[in-house]
């Protein structure tokens, strides 16, 4: 028995980062909005407080803020000849649960993609010839340019109070910032964070070997800041617990603290938590959706919520899954190359390393992901790929802070992992280790994709999403290249010893690597090459919009949150300015 509710203007599926941003923008435009969230509400004043928030076991080891795998997970296999098996507890990536979603625990690195990233296929073809891109590398140009998105990057910066230093202000290159970044109309909202001891050493070393280091942009203010919605944000406290916990300082960007205070009481907004959206109701003939069906997890009742239009704002996997399960668009088939939903699934090709210094003191517990130093000389098309045998790249970053003790105790390779000698070495190097990371792109490959699993079901009986992914030869070569450049900077610091860790040949669901999943509902220029148009509007249902990294045609060499935030604002602006007045397709082909 399904109870049909009264129609509202907008239903937003998922109240994570972009879901809440969209709800806020739509209510500001006068629309009635229902936000549906499968997870719990978040009450920062109850949950994100001292001392309970400083609990590495609960948040980091037991991953309390992540999606409950018993409710939903994905199955995984390296290639389509294998049987996919469920990820029974999260490992390689960590989707978040509840209002605020993954931003409740994210690391907060806040980037823009390069102007050339948005036209990557044309750029490579132009530079290296029409046959340069291998047949199985299905990268495409974005249907939107950096210049078009710049005002929305700017607005997203001002939602988050990003700390950073501009390296390109309206075309003028500024030393100390990232000179490779696209032109910004404004400085970062707040100054860059102070760097840790290790990051300072890394900056000097990178400079000495001829690279262009800068302090990473961080999605938390370095000083108190009033954001674009008038919410006063706190400043980063360099607590060292950031990566898997929420922020007690109301500094790290999440809509929980940055938007909800001014959205929660809005009479046009209704938040329903523990509302499990089962499907989007789709009228294929009319090329329209009529609303959604959801289960109220608190009563077990099933409801149909009709809506003028629907915004799909779940995590990458959730967006693709909802499209496949609701039967909107054609599922991708890697054998024929036909179909688009699930195509161009990409990950982040991360690799890392550690250097040990006998004579240095670097407090590993004191710091923030934003107090590190990066260089961007080997990202995207910032360097010549002639003769290298791969395309793509990424930023390279180093620093010494942010490591509570269960997870943050580096010892040199070959040290026993237990016993008295292990203890001795652990104490010896605790203050002397510096960590590095290369944040590599993943250029889409026709063999990597998402579809519905034939065997395993979620907690309401739907097939799980199946992920078929492995690192490609291109991406392995790219990553080794980044490590070789990292090594130059590491050597310049004269460490006592160091080690670099390339990724193993096969992608593995354990241990943690990166939560940066992208693709599955890619945007493009026409219904033949994409699931949505340049505004995230679904070609096959003009009153359905998608936000988030599932729109990415491929993943570039940066964390995805900056671009996906900017794109949500770009979509919101188009809906408010044009779609609401004249509902229907925003792009005609």
């Amino acid at each position: 028995m399904v109870t049909k509710l009264k129609e509202v203007d907008v239903v937003v599926i998922g109240q994570g980062l972009t879901g809440v941003m969209m709800a806020k923008e739509m209510t500001m435009a006068g629309l009635t909005v229902v936000g549906l969230e499968r997870g719990p509400d978040k009450r920062p004043e109850q949950e994100n407080i001292l001392p309970r928030i400083r609990d590495e076991l609960r948040y980091n080891a037991r991953k309390e803020l992540m999606v409950d795998n018993a409710v939903d997970t994905v199955t995984f296999r390296n290639d389509s000849d294998q049987m996919a098996l469920p990820i029974r507890r999260w490992g390689a990536f960590l989707p978040g649960e509840g209002v605020g979603g993954t931003t409740n625990h994210w690391g907060g690195l806040h980037w823009r993609f390069l102007p050339t990233d948005f036209r990557i296929r044309s750029e490579i073809t132009q530079k290296y010839g029409a046959s340069a891109i291998p047949a199985d590398m299905t990268i495409t140009d974005w249907p939107v340019t950096y210049d078009e998105l710049e005002p929305y990057f700017d607005k997203f910066d001002k939602l988050c109070g990003v700390a950073g230093k501009a390296g390109n202000l309206r075309g003028q290159k500024i030393e100390g910032g990232n000179v490779f970044e696209g032109p910004r109309q404004n400085e970062y909202p707040t100054p860059a964070l102070k760097t840790s001891a290790g990051a300072g050493m890394f900056r000097d070393a990178a400079k000495n070997v001829g690279f262009h280091p800068f302090t990473v942009p961080f999605s938390a203010p370095s000083q108190p800041y009033v954001n674009v919605y008038g919410v006063t944000l706190g400043k980063c406290e360099y607590c060292g617990f950031c990566g898997r916990t929420s922020c007690e300082a109301n500094a790290k960007a999440t809509p929980t603290t940055h938007v909800m205070p001014v959205l929660r009481g809005d009479p046009k907004y209704t938040l329903k938590t523990r509302a499990f959206v089962k499907q989007i109701n789709y009228d294929k003939q009319a090329k329209k959706v009529t609303g959604v069906t959801y289960i109220d997890m608190k009563t077990g009742e099933e409801y149909e919520q009709p809506a003028g239009f629907v915004i799909l704002s779940a995590f990458v996997m959730g967006n693709t899954h909802m499209m496949l399960y609701s039967g909107i668009g054609e599922p991708y088939d890697p054998k024929t190359g036909r179909g688009l939903v699930g195509k161009n699934y990409c990950y982040q090709f991360e690799a890392n390393g550690t250097a040990f210094f006998e004579d240095k003191i670097m407090s590993p517990f004191m710091g923030s992901p934003g107090d590190r130093v990066a260089f961007d000389d080997f990202n995207g098309e910032n360097f010549d790929h002639s003769g290298l045998g791969f395309f793509g790249g990424g930023y390279i970053v180093g620093g010494s802070g942010s490591a509570p003790p269960i997870g943050g105790r580096d010892v040199p390779e070959g040290t026993p992992s237990w016993g008295s000698e292990w203890k001795k070495q652990t104490v010896k190097w605790y203050y002397g280790a510096m960590d590095f990371n290369t944040q590599g792109s993943v250029y889409a490959n026709r063999a990597n994709y998402l579809d519905l699993d034939p065997t395993y079901k979620d907690s309401i009986g739907r097939p799980l999403l199946r992920m078929t992914y492995n690192g490609t030869e291109n991406d392995h070569k790219m990553s080794r290249h980044l490590l070789s450049k990292l090594e130059m900077a590491v050597k310049a610091m004269n460490p006592t010893s160091y080690e670099l860790r390339p990724r193993p040949k096969n992608f593995t669901t354990v241990p943690y690597q990166s939560t940066h999943n992208t693709g599955g509902t890619m945007m493009g220029t026409n219904p033949g090459n994409s699931v949505t148009n340049r505004y995230g509007q679904v070609w096959e249902a003009s009153n359905l919009f998608i936000t988030g990294a599932s729109l990415f045609p491929q993943q570039h060499g940066y964390n995805p949150t900056g671009p996906l935030g900017a794109m949500a604002y770009w979509t919101a602006d188009k809906i408010v300015k044009d779609y609401v007045k004249n509902p229907g397709p925003l792009v005609h082909t």
Partner: protein
């Protein structure tokens, strides 16, 4: 049997008895430089006997022996069991996490590739119960005694064999069992003491980890490249 007489585990069980003062004394190697901290340490240590929520006597003895082998008592810290690591393990296995909370447990259960991660139907508690039985059976077959009755050298040898995967347990894989055992020991040793391990913040003292409140915005400049003074680490309980 002579070896048994010298087994720390036996001493420990007998003298559950280990009072706060004697645990603190074991830790003085680290805090001796700070008389103030030593006093605080002695006051902070509980003097109660370990009791178990879910561990059987065999499991308790196994985990005590394993904790004291993985984290032996030396000049850097008290032993794993003195630090409460077995108590931590007991509470974790009794917790929602130990019972398989937030874990996808629907079948079919198929043996996958290493890349596909953990694919057994067992909860962490069930896994450790089976693992301890398998480990002890292997120790009996190999050494004629259960793990807890081995002397220190044999315990080291047995754990090394499990770590390398050369210990051929009957119907159970020794290498992943060792990884799980090592992980939960490290969690118990380094987690906030609120969970029953890391008593007297012994591991935090050992490392020089200050604990809470972890607010460093006004300290990051002053202590860049300099040792941050950690005389008395602070835990959740200290702020509650």
């Amino acid at each position: 049997m002579a070896n048994d007489e010298s087994i720390p585990r036996r001493d420990f069980l007998k003298g559950a008895s280990l009072t706060g003062a004697s645990v603190a004394a074991a830790a003085t190697g680290l805090v001796a430089c700070s008389p103030k901290a030593e006093t605080a340490a002695s006051q902070a240590t509980p003097a109660t006997q370990d009791t178990w929520l879910v561990l059987t006597p065999e499991e308790a003895e196994f985990f005590i022996a394993a904790a004291d082998t993985i984290i032996p008592k030396d000049e850097l810290s008290p032993s794993g069991s003195e630090c409460g690591v077995p108590v931590f393990i007991d509470r974790q296995l009794a917790s929602a996490w130990g019972g398989g909370d937030r874990m996808y447990r629907a079948g079919p259960f198929v043996k996958g590739t290493p890349e596909q991660g953990y694919q057994l139907s067992l909860t962490p508690h069930q896994y450790f119960v089976a693992g301890v039985i398998a480990a002890n059976a292997w120790c009996e077959k190999t050494y004629g005694k259960t793990f807890d009755r081995l002397d220190q050298a044999k315990r080291n040898e047995a754990l090394t064999a499990m770590e390398k995967g050369t210990a051929e347990f009957d119907g159970f894989e020794s290498k992943p069992f060792f990884t799980a055992l090592l992980t939960i020991n490290m969690e118990g040793f380094f987690a906030d003491p609120i969970y029953g391990g890391n008593r007297n913040k012994a591991s935090w003292r050992m490392l020089g980890f200050p604990g809470l409140p972890a607010i460093y915005a006004d300290k990051i400049d002053a202590y860049r490249g300099k040792r941050y003074p950690v005389t008395e680490p602070q835990s959740i309980a200290d702020f509650s």
